[in-house]
């Protein structure tokens, strides 16, 4: 349990005095289609504008159209607001706005609430025509109290109808107003946000929604004793707010990548939706291919022709790209491949988070296929890593894979608005004459690097092939030649890896009892947990890897300074206590396995495949339990 929360964040008694908080986790949950997400996004935006740290994440039903008033239909949003930068979705919710009494149960199943969670629930069900509904409502309320939640009944629909007949569907804006009052938000900022988000609608619609906003605000002022304040940071810069997929899309634009070749797949697709809106104006295009194989083949064709392309996918799509990735490595085609990881294996959990594609990214292709694999750990890095990836891909003439996941894809966080730079953009393709006599694969013995001819370059003509080939690109079955080619492609990994700095230890550089190692989207949660543990006196630090192939240097040396090393990952590992499992046959989580081979350190792992973002509280619990044994 995250002790901090219990002590300082949640007020024991709500009064009309403002309670100062460091952070709060708010959820709005409703039936699919009731606009909870819009309310939450607006609330997050208002908080961000006021200078708070924010992390929002949508709660999406798995089916397209689940029946209303069922657990499956629960749809909504979590908004975590804090005084500092928020790096993850946090632990259990502190305050929940529920549009009916069934939706909360879907969250209870996910262990999203705790004792003391405030539940603000639509009260109209108490007077519903159908007796089953009334009974169910009463039963749920009793149960909530039993579970230790603190329940407030709110006449949402009733109050909305006061504003205008038929304003039922505006409940979400009314709730936004209520939340703004509870959290002491500046109403004028909220008004501006509402006006902005309805800007494509008629004036009448904007007005109605503003009215609802103000009504919710006013009602809370007059009727609710809940008043919280979360002090803001000083804001020096313009901020943007977006999710990780949108950030990837902007990365593609800012990298000047002209071709994004994709096939729809959850949770990667929304990155292309965002791109599709704007790439054309920025001088590029989306190609929706007939399948994932064609998508990467098209991207490789484009890259071969000088327009380095990106292809974006998720697990099953990555599987289909396997053969072409091998060709990309073999023939040294620069290419950016983004894998937004979802729950696996196979179709698995399409909308849920997992970090299960790491080994497949590294080793999925038959034969030796060294490539660069990197994983952003924040929304902002989603943006910057695409730019970096294109540059690395072209400099090292190699496919670069970026692994994000459903957690980053749907998590929303403000970050400083990027100041775009012309040098980020792909330069125009070189069409000057190729230097005669220089081979298309004139590998540097030292680094394995070579310069590639682009079609259109006079005297650069060569035939790319996936067969073993000489520096001249000629097919060759000679043993030495093959050994040389494979070595040269491997050499590039060493050359690139040697240019990286050792990763920075978060906590105590000099060592300690435990080092928690992570990669990708879990960084925020891990570091928050480590910070908490350190505050309580535990000698624990964190290390986060951004490069998985090749890995950043110096790991062994860092590990040696700690008594225990453990990875925290969202993928599968056998628990040491499971039946049949022995120290010898235990299957480790993926990064742990790599680190064991690489450093020969007895790296342990803490992981699950719950399809959920990891919570700082659970990691903290793990840390304390390991260190108290």
């Amino acid at each position: 349990m995250n002790q901090r929360n219990e002590v300082s964040d949640t007020p024991v008694q709500a009064t009309d005095r403002q309670v100062k908080l460091k952070q709060h986790v708010v959820e709005i949950i409703s039936d699919s289609g009731e606009g909870a997400q819009k309310a939450g996004q607006s609330f997050g935006a208002v908080c961000a504008k006021m200078g708070n740290g924010v992390w929002t994440v949508e709660i999406i039903p798995a089916d397209i159209q689940p029946p209303p008033r069922t657990k499956e239909s629960a749809s909504g949003i979590r908004i975590r607001v804090g005084s500092k930068k928020m790096t993850n979705a946090g632990d259990e919710a502190d305050l929940v706005v529920a549009f009916n009494e069934i939706a909360p149960y879907s969250r209870i199943d996910q262990h999203a609430f705790k004792k003391g969670t405030l539940i603000l629930i639509e009260s109209m069900w108490a007077d519903h025509d159908a007796p089953e509904v009334r009974e169910n409502y009463a039963r749920a309320l009793a149960d909530f109290k039993e579970r230790g939640y603190r329940v407030f009944e709110i006449p949402m629909e009733e109050e909305c109808l006061r504003v205008a007949p038929g304003a039922k569907r505006g409940k979400n804006m009314w709730v936004l107003g209520m939340l703004c009052h509870i959290y002491n938000r500046d109403l004028s900022i909220a008004e501006a946000q509402v006006a902005h988000s309805f800007r494509k609608k008629s004036e009448a619609v904007v007005d109605l929604n503003l009215k609802l906003l103000r009504a919710g605000y006013g009602w809370a002022a007059g009727n609710l004793e809940l008043r919280f304040d979360i002090p803001a940071m000083e804001q020096k810069q313009d901020m943007v707010v977006m999710n990780g997929n949108e950030a990837l899309g902007f990365g593609v634009l800012a990298a000047g990548i002209e071709v994004c070749s994709m096939y729809p797949i959850t949770p990667a697709t929304s990155a292309s939706h965002q791109l599709a809106e704007s790439i054309e104006q920025a001088g590029g295009l989306i190609h929706q291919a007939e399948d994932e194989i064609a998508a990467i083949g098209f991207a490789i064709g484009s890259s071969y022709a000088g327009k380095t392309a990106v292809t974006i996918t998720s697990g099953p799509g990555l599987a289909l790209k396997t053969e072409f990735i091998g060709l990309g490595v073999m023939a040294e085609v620069p290419l950016v491949i983004i894998d937004v990881q979802r729950g696996g294996p196979s179709t698995g959990l399409p909308t849920k988070v997992e970090q299960g594609d790491l080994l497949a990214a590294l080793y999925g292709q038959p034969g030796d296929t060294p490539k660069i694999v990197m994983a952003p750990s924040t929304i902002e890095e989603c943006f910057h890593f695409v730019i970096l990836a294109r540059q690395i891909a072209e400099a090292f003439r190699v496919p670069v894979m970026i692994l994000t996941d459903a957690n980053l894809a749907t998590g929303v966080q403000p970050f400083p608005r990027p100041q775009l730079r012309p040098e980020w953009l792909a330069p125009p393709i070189d069409q000057s004459a190729w230097q005669k006599g220089v081979n298309p694969y004139a590998w540097s013995e030292e680094t394995g690097m070579s310069k590639r001819p682009i079609p259109g370059q006079k005297d650069g003509m060569y035939t790319l092939t996936g067969l073993a080939h000489t520096e001249a690109g000629k097919v060759s079955y000679s043993p030495e030649q093959n050994q040389h080619g494979v070595s040269m492609r491997s050499r590039k990994m060493a050359a690139f890896g040697n240019s990286l700095k050792p990763p920075r230890v978060h906590g105590d550089e000099s060592g300690g009892d435990l080092l928690v190692v992570g990669w990708g989207s879990t960084r925020g949660a891990i570091e928050e947990a480590v910070d908490s543990a350190r505050e309580s006196g535990y000698k624990v630090s964190a290390l986060h890897l951004h490069f998985l192939s090749p890995m950043e240097p110096g790991l062994k040396e860092i590990f040696d300074r700690f008594k225990k090393v453990i990875t925290v990952e969202i993928n599968y590992s056998d628990a040491p206590t499971d039946p049949m499992i022995t120290p010898e046959n235990r299957r480790y989580s993926q990064l742990a396995w790599l680190l064991r081979a690489q450093t020969l350190t007895d790296v342990d792992c803490f992981s699950n495949v719950h399809g959920q973002p990891l919570r700082p509280g659970n990691i903290l619990e793990m840390i304390t339990s390991r260190l108290n044994h």
């Binding site: 935006a45 961000a48 901020m239 098209f298 006079k458 003509m461």
Partner: protein, 318 residues
């Protein structure tokens, strides 16, 4: 000196004139008598006649005997994966309207493992010349049944005879929407082969040429029948079709006047299992071209790009 103005001389020289030799690379490693040699010659001749700059010309292939083709052309080449020539060629052409793209594919490469891409490439109708080397067998892997093998073909995977009727690549292509050019020729009629490839090259769109190919190594019987049996060959004639020269017209004396805009007749000719109709079966120059879409917003300046991105960023700024 000596009244010779070198400068003028040089300026007056035309751009480099490409000879056949400029398109040749290495010695083709196909069996003697393999039809692939004939197509290589025809294509090199086309390049020379059209004076295609080698650096602006691309041959894209999959895997197979036929797919070795790019290695023998002194142009840019992409000898990729089995069945995947089309996506690669489309990706190349998408933002490079300046490149002349040719696709060389085999009957296994195109009609078996590549079938899905083939259907979609027809529909994309990007400007490229597609040569299907149909030898009715898997050559490279040594005699397995191909989707175009006649029923009963004894192959290594069907030693007792293949059991399915063959795919008809012409008919399949004609059934795809946005199809724009479908022709048939044969490697053993060099003049017709050349004329057909040339017609295909000139077509503004995806021009699909099925070439009946000899594979003396693994389908010797098929060769004999095709080469000898002129009764079963009929040349299509039309002012907008593949031109037939006198000599060829005399040797192959069955002719049929066929208007290449007549889709219904094209389908009927393609479906005929008795007679091979050689020439242009169908052409529609007005079909929508995806490569034009691909090239509609090229060469934006960095300033334009950054401005567009910044504008989009506005929407996300708080």
């Amino acid at each position: 000196m000596f009244g010779l103005n070198l400068d003028a001389c040089i300026i007056d020289l035309p751009e480099k004139y490409y000879t056949l030799h400029d398109y040749e690379k290495g010695v083709a490693r196909w069996c003697p008598g393999c039809g692939d040699h004939a197509v290589l010659s025809a294509v090199q001749r086309l390049c020379k006649e059209e004076q295609l700059p080698p650096e602006k010309t691309m041959f894209v292939s999959g895997i197979g005997c036929s797919s070795r083709f790019p290695h023998y052309m002194n142009t840019y080449g992409f000898h990729g994966l089995h069945g995947r020539a089309f996506p690669v060629a489309c990706g190349i052409k998408f933002r490079r309207p300046d490149l002349n793209v040719f696709v060389v594919t085999g009957d296994g490469d195109c009609c078996s493992i590549g079938a899905g891409h083939w259907i979609h490439a027809i529909r994309y109708n990007m400007n490229m010349t597609v040569l299907l080397f149909d030898n009715q067998i898997y050559g490279m892997t040594k005699k397995q049944t191909s989707p175009t093998s006649p029923m009963g073909t004894m192959s290594n995977t069907h030693p007792h005879g293949s059991v399915l009727p063959p795919i008809n690549p012409l008919l399949t292509t004609l059934g795809v929407s946005n199809v724009s050019f479908v022709a048939q020729t044969a490697d053993w009629i060099p003049s017709h082969l050349y004329a057909t490839i040339r017609k295909a090259y000139e077509h503004p769109g995806f021009s699909f040429v099925k070439i009946s190919m000899r594979c003396p190594k693994f389908m010797p019987a098929a060769v004999d029948a095709k080469v000898s049996d002129k009764e079963h060959v009929c040349l299509l004639t039309h002012e907008n079709g593949v031109p037939v020269d006198d000599a060829t017209g005399r040797v192959f004396s069955n002719h049929l006047e066929h208007d290449p805009t007549d889709m219904n007749q094209a389908r009927q000719l393609a479906a005929n299992e008795e007679i091979s109709y050689l020439g242009l079966l169908y052409q529609n120059k007005a079909a929508l071209r995806y490569d034009l879409y691909g090239a509609h917003n090229l060469n934006y300046t960095p300033e334009q790009k950054i401005a567009a991105i910044n504008q989009e960023l506005e929407r996300f700024t708080v």
